[in-house]
Symmetry: C2
Subunit: 121 residues, 2 copies
DNA sequence: TTGAACTATGAAGTATACTGTATACTTGTG
DNA sequence: CACAAGTATACAGTATACTTCATAGTTCAA
């Protein structure tokens, strides 16, 4: 159970960004029920898992909305299995598309390097 | 040699976006020297190659600035070979990082599918 | 018990990447 | 030769994803 400062340190994500993610519904903390002098939110491993996923997904061009659809159903059961699989399979397809695009880019950049090498002989 | 309308049709990129890319220095057309009644810009295969690369790179989360650094040196020689390789090798590294992240996401999503399957037995 | 550090909230501001609107000129077809 | 369609330019507006600012309350170590 970590406070936001600790969560920020462990994930490398700035506190304002974490608050923004919380407001956007990507992560959520909860209050300690036995404390009522403050409104401090505590975060657990689930939040860290989600944030790691968010960082990866953002790095490869997924939007926060696309990411939200996935992390939303990680710990939820109120959705039919079919609906859950639909979202996940769609993302798996997108991932394969992105890998294909990255390989194409790689090829093109290596070709570019070849061209430069040859032209400077 | 295509006008912007044709370029848009062939790449699927809307005309205002193409103009935005041109203003941002990502692509460039040129006027027909023998015509001086208008300022119509014409685009060749180079523009299409660049736009295809831009579309791929954007889809995997590269910024326009990162993309510009690459396409800028495709047809330029005013930069030292070392500087060119620096940019290209940096991008190749980023590409491998992104592929690794995509594989990690894939693993996690497939694990998530397993969990859903088991819990709904 | 005081002050530095931490937390919460709301609202405004910023960067990136478009997207739309207005205006005006050019071209090709019937 | 009218006029629909295409082109250019400038500028305002929008969406996404933060980032900063202002304010105010809380906790904890010295």
């Amino acid at each position: 159970m970590k406070l936001i400062h600790q969560l920020s340190k462990e994930t490398g994500i700035p506190i304002p960004t974490l608050r923004f993610y919380e407001k956007s519904g990507l992560i959520s903390g909860r209050r300690k029920t036995d404390v009522n002098t403050n409104n401090y939110q505590f975060y657990d491993q689930e939040a860290i898992d989600k944030l790691n996923f968010i960082q990866m997904a953002k790095a490869v061009g997924f939007t926060l909305n696309e990411i939200k659809e996935v992390v939303d159903l990680w710990y939820k059961k109120e959705i039919t299995q079919k609906a859950q699989f639909e979202v996940l399979d769609k993302r798996l397809l997108q991932i394969d598309e992105k890998i294909a695009e990255l390989n194409a880019m790689k090829k093109q950049i290596m070709l570019c390097k070849e061209n430069i090498k040859n032209r400077n002989l």
